[in-house]
Amino acid sequence: MRIGVFVCHCGTNIAGTVDSKGIAARAAELKDVVHTEDLIYTCSEPGQAAIEKAIREKDLTRVVVAACSPHMHEVTFRRCVDRAGLNPYLYEMANIREHCSWIHDDYEQGTEKAYEIIKMAVAKVRQLEPLYSNEVDVNKDVLVIGGGVAGIQTALDLADAGLKVTIVERETTIGGTMARLDKTFPTIDCSACILTPRMVDAAQHENIEILAYSEIDRVQGYVGNFTVDIRKKAAMVDWTKCIGCEICVQKCPAKAPDVFNVGLAETKAIYIPFPQAVPKRAAIQVEHCRWFTQGKCRVCERVCPADAVDYEQKDEYLQRQYGAIVTATGLDVFPWEEYYHEYGSGHIPDVISGLQYERMLNASGPTNGHVVRPSTMGIKGKEPEEPKTVVFIQCVGSRDESVGRPYCSSVCCMYTAKQSILTKSHVGMDTEIYVFYIDIRATGKGYEEFVKRAQTEFGVKYVRGRVSKLYEDNGKVMVRGMDTLLGKQVEIAADLVVLASGITAADGSVQLAQKLNISYDEFGFYKESHPKLRPVETNTAGIFLAGACQSPKDIPTAVAQASGTAAKVLGLLAKDKLKTSPQIAIVDQNRCVSCWKCIEVCPFSAPEKQELRDGTEKSHIIETVCQGCGICVATCPVNCIELKGFTTDQLIDQLEEALLS
């Protein structure tokens, strides 16, 4: 055995705390080590060339690279070893940066620890065996989960490139949050006018199939070969017949809260969320329907000209195959009512959320675009009142540790500026408008100018400080807060208060992540594989992110990212075959005692029961399904599963080096 050890300086990243040169020299004393070298930047072209040269000239049979985290460069050096003609799995990485130099200050001790880490890697590399990849066929169809602007963009880009795409949307229409907005900052162009044509494009594209009112039930398989169970929820309306005429909606006698209009209006038990819905199909909310709750009515069935209503309809289950999956599940609005008791917990009618205000501003919204005080709505014989004084409060449910939301929602500063401008143009320039803010984040193109316009051109008064209390008094909403610039208490009697409620991950995002086996943060936003270098990939191969499901974003960023995602998916699916990792688990069936714990714990359903010739059943791990996570290995009581490249004996040797030598 001929081992080569390469120790990286990583500029001063490692060499600042670790004597890279010294330990490279010391490593030469280790058993079987025939070549050592220290390199300034091992990952650079000359660095990799040095490794290749040494492998060839010194006839190395094993390689240890002591540098950064395998997460960063394992693959880089694996390719390098491969190029030099050595089996790429006869190489081990020793992490002396993240695990050592970056977390220690003491030069001597850091050096000593780095040397220990290298010794452990050498102990393991001695035990390694060559491993060989397999190739599997790739399915070229793509699943996009969520039909907001991001999901639509990815789907259109992929479909234009010739791939078949399915959009699974849990609501009855695609469009997402953007479909509910009025105008968009910073250009104040009409949200629907730019979005609905894209929705129609998606619906009419020959390569796109929209499965609305559907959810993901189960995901199995692996990159290139996912098997997805999709549940089409029963709409109680046969969508192949429904023509979207809305006659049923007009005639239905049962009222239901209007979710699309965020509770500002009522809809019917049978509903179509908005006129431009795609697909434009009716669905019954059974919990509000008289037929389902009281056994009487069936009006919609009678009036439907297409004979589409079907009270017996059941959920339908589909199973589909995909090569890649894109999650674009977007955002929900922070449920401020549950947290901000000082703002009345939703009991003060004239305190509304930013999204409600978007609906109110919208010409096709519940007030036909009239800005009114909700407390004066729906009173017989009285016109709703327009507000004279409007107060906006920013950062409600953002940058607030006390409600568990330390992050910035990134769009509220901007949409508040937009809404304050729109208020002036809807109600009149003489409207008094105050915006309470912590500070203004306007980093996008044209954003700062936009906020300035609100302040100077439209005379919106920005007050720096938090609002401590909202309460009703004499028909007004009293806003008590602090102006931290003037250092004094302010109190404003408002007619309408709009809370810039922050953005959260979509409801159910965590459950979906668990089905997909992708990582998410404590707020339910999906985690990218690398914040800088792999921003649209997840850590699960073949699953990608687009839009606000990753973090709060505005529309331009969501759309740009969605196109980036499409490019990544295209890159992946451009190949006809994919190499599988050989670092997977394998069962020694002679020793398996058929306890099936591996089947129970594997998150990818890789182990299966296999009947042997003698009639006994033993565990067998499906090679293409196993992701090499090692959970079964740790679970198997007889240790008869080994993870190739991380066998128990290899790890024991590594441990013994650390503990005994």
Binding site: V510, Q511, A513, Q514, S519, Y520, D521, E522, R591, C592, V593, C595, W596, K597, E600, V601, T635, P637, V638, N639, C640, E642, T647, T648, D649, I652
Partner: protein
């Protein structure tokens, strides 16, 4: 009532021909090992017939034997008294309470958790359901170093006869026990307190979440190692940390095979 936890015998082979059943008598604690095995689909409910035996505690045969120099040939029970007679006819009366196993005295589940039929009326369950962890107080009062020393002392004498493993009903690996394997070489074949402890630690982790402290291993050990120091301690920790006790109902699952999406783990 029988000393033994008879579920152990179900570990091997299920009956042929199909349709036949094995009858098994279980006390409260035995039934919980049975339930643990059923929860894991390791035995087939259709192939057994369970006769539940409500239990008022098991006496330690060893304690009786220690009172004599001769072989005990007869033990009889009457009115809370136990009379033992040896081969030579020597006889002695004991109070039953003095002979009960520690864990029987604080048993909270004397009636079977699952049975097809009961051999007698259920016995009264103790009103006080506070779990007791008999015999641990003394051990837990020790400092970490003293605990190390105590465990070393206790396990020094293990002869690795595997009696505890063989008798354990939820220990499922039989001849393939990893403690006997050379590849991977997790436990060395050397004898000594450290290796013995490693061996017992592996047993303990393999039965974690499945062991109801039935005491079978304690009773089987020929050199009288107090194995409960590990198992009961583990069960206590599981109970305190996760509120878990093994084998309470067929619907349950071993704690280490459950995953609750609502576990407050933060990042995953």
């Amino acid at each position: 009532m029988t000393h033994h936890n008879l579920t152990t015998f179900l570990k091997r082979k299920m009956p042929d021909p199909p349709g036949s059943r094995i009858g098994v008598c279980v006390k409260g604690c035995d039934s919980r090992t049975l339930v643990a095995l059923l929860q894991e689909n390791l035995i087939d409910k259709e192939k057994i017939y369970v006769i539940g035996v409500p239990c008022d505690g098991v006496v330690s045969r060893r304690r009786i034997e220690k009172a004599f120099n001769d072989e005990v040939v007869d033990i009889s029970f009457a009115d809370g008294k136990v009379t033992a007679t040896t081969r030579t006819g020597e006889s002695q009366e004991f109070a039953k309470d003095d002979l009960l196993f520690d864990h029987c005295k604080s048993c909270r589940y004397p009636n079977p958790a699952y049975a097809d039929d009961l051999a007698a009326d259920p016995v009264a369950e103790p009103v006080d359901q506070t779990p007791m962890w008999a015999g641990l107080e003394e051990f837990e009062a020790l400092s970490p170093e003293e605990k190390d020393a105590k465990l070393a002392e206790v396990f020094e004498t293990c002869i690795r006869c595997f009696a505890c493993i063989n008798v354990c009903p939820v220990c499922w690996c039989w001849d393939q026990c990893v403690c006997r394997s050379r590849k991977p070489a997790l436990v060395s074949q050397r004898v000594g307190a450290k290796e013995n402890l490693m061996f017992q630690m592996i047993h303990m982790l393999h039965v974690a979440g499945r062991c109801p402290s039935c005491g079978a291993c304690d009773r089987a050990c020929p050199v009288e190692i107090p194995l409960y120091l590990l198992h009961r301690k583990m069960n206590k920790e599981l109970h305190e940390m996760l509120g878990f006790e093994a084998g309470l109902s067929l619907e349950g699952k071993p704690v280490f095979q459950t995953f609750d999406v609502n576990d407050p783990l933060g990042e995953h």
